[in-house]
């Protein structure tokens, strides 16, 4: 009863710590923005808490009326992922809108720039005015 769970405990704690380390390294290198890392850090902390506090999962499961405690993990993990995926879709949609607006501005600037260049090349005859 005691020996096998302890092995799993060690494995899960090391796994969680390695995961957290990876997240930190990504932030330090500037490859992950802090706001998206929060959820991962929270997840890792939860993982570590339940790896150490083994009775916790069972207690919460009985409290919620779940007969098979591991299914609570699946439920929690799946819901968390679902919420996070929706959040990512929202972020992507916002980015797409911003890219579209920037593309428009860039196209306008390109046009202005080309007109200015053309004006400079033919300085003698001022062509149609460039709109500010």
């Amino acid at each position: 009863m005691e020996t096998i769970p302890i092995t799993i405990q060690i494995v899960s704690i090391t796994g969680a710590l390695l995961f957290m380390l990876t997240i930190f390294r990504l932030i330090v290198r500037g490859k992950l923005r802090e706001e998206y890392s929060i959820i991962w850090i929270v997840c890792t902390v939860l993982l570590i808490v339940f790896s150490i506090w083994r009775r916790g999962l069972e207690q919460i499961a009985t409290l919620l009326g779940v007969f098979y405690p591991p299914s609570l993990i699946f439920l929690a993990a799946l819901s968390a992922m679902l919420v996070f995926l929706v959040h990512l879709s929202v972020v992507i949609s916002k980015l797409q809108n911003q890219i579209k607006d920037i593309t428009h501005e860039m196209a306008y600037l390109r046009q202005d720039l080309e007109r200015l260049k053309a004006q400079q090349e033919t300085r003698a005859t001022p062509s149609e005015p460039v709109v500010p």
């Binding site: 797409q96 890219i99 579209k100 593309t103 428009h104 860039m106 196209a107 306008y108 390109r110 046009q111 709109v131």
Partner: protein, 251 residues
């Protein structure tokens, strides 16, 4: 009531890989300008074409064009043109496809209701008088479906809701400057305009079969098209209806 200076009209021509037809479309507009006496300016929006479209535009003397650095699709490209028209103080803007489907000599007919201030949005329709190119049978089924959906949601009947040959006045441009659907925008925009209480009018026009290039909608994408547009229509309806009840538009 009518403004003393002649209204300035921008013809926006979105194009993606239309090297075969774009020059003749631009020239047709120039010819229509001479014939009608309207102040028609042209703006070609090159949506990151991968063929020689840009070279054609650069070598065409006096051609006014925008060159999008990223491919945005028809909705994004059109919004670039409408925003341009709005910012540069144009009174009206017309969408005219770069593939030569929309004949430039129909422009005066399309613009007449705007010039008379009888409509805010004018849509050139193939189906009011059944002349000219009538599209394929399968597409007409889809077009009928959108007509019913639009009628049900905004109570206005638009026979040719996928027609890209349309003209907007400045009031419409102000709305489009803020939001215009991205992908396959035509049917969705009609619901948007209807909910903004704009006056939509259809005028019969003749269309031709595309002169070059390939359609953006093939049979494989048709299902996605119907689904995307239906969703777009329903959500734009829900969004704008909610807004309208919160802040009722004056007039």
């Amino acid at each position: 009531m009518s403004p003393t200076p002649a209204p300035r009209i921008l013809i926006v021509i979105p194009c993606y890989n239309e090297e075969a037809s774009i020059v003749s479309v631009v020239n047709d507009v120039a010819q229509a300008r001479h014939q009608s006496g309207l102040v028609l300016d042209t703006l070609v929006v090159n949506d990151c074409s991968t063929d020689g479209t840009l070279v054609q535009l650069q070598t065409l003397p006096g051609c006014n064009y925008l060159n999008l650095p990223v491919n945005l699709g028809i909705g994004g490209a059109m919004q670039a043109g409408y925003r341009y028209a709005y910012r540069h103080g144009y009174d009206m803007a017309v969408q005219m496809d770069g593939d030569g489907q929309h004949p430039a000599d129909e422009l005066p007919k399309l613009l007449a209701p705007l010039l008379a201030d009888k409509a805010d949005v004018v849509i050139g329709s193939r189906f009011l008088e059944r002349t000219g190119f009538q599209s394929t049978a399968v597409r007409r089924i889809g077009i009928n479906y959108f007509r019913r959906l639009n009628r049900w949601l905004i109570g206005q009947t638009v026979h040719d809701s996928t027609s890209g040959f349309r003209a907007f006045n400045r009031r419409t441009l102000a709305i489009v400057d803020r939001y215009y659907p991205d992908e396959y925008p035509e049917p969705e925009a009609i619901v948007q305009f209807g909910l903004h209480q704009l006056r939509i009018q259809e005028v019969p026009v003749q269309m031709r079969e595309r002169q070059g290039g390939v359609s953006s909608i093939n049979t494989g994408r048709a299902f996605y098209y119907m689904l995307k547009v239906t969703l777009g229509i329903l959500f734009v309806y829900i969004r704008l209806r909610g807004r309208r009840t919160l802040t009722p538009l004056a007039g």
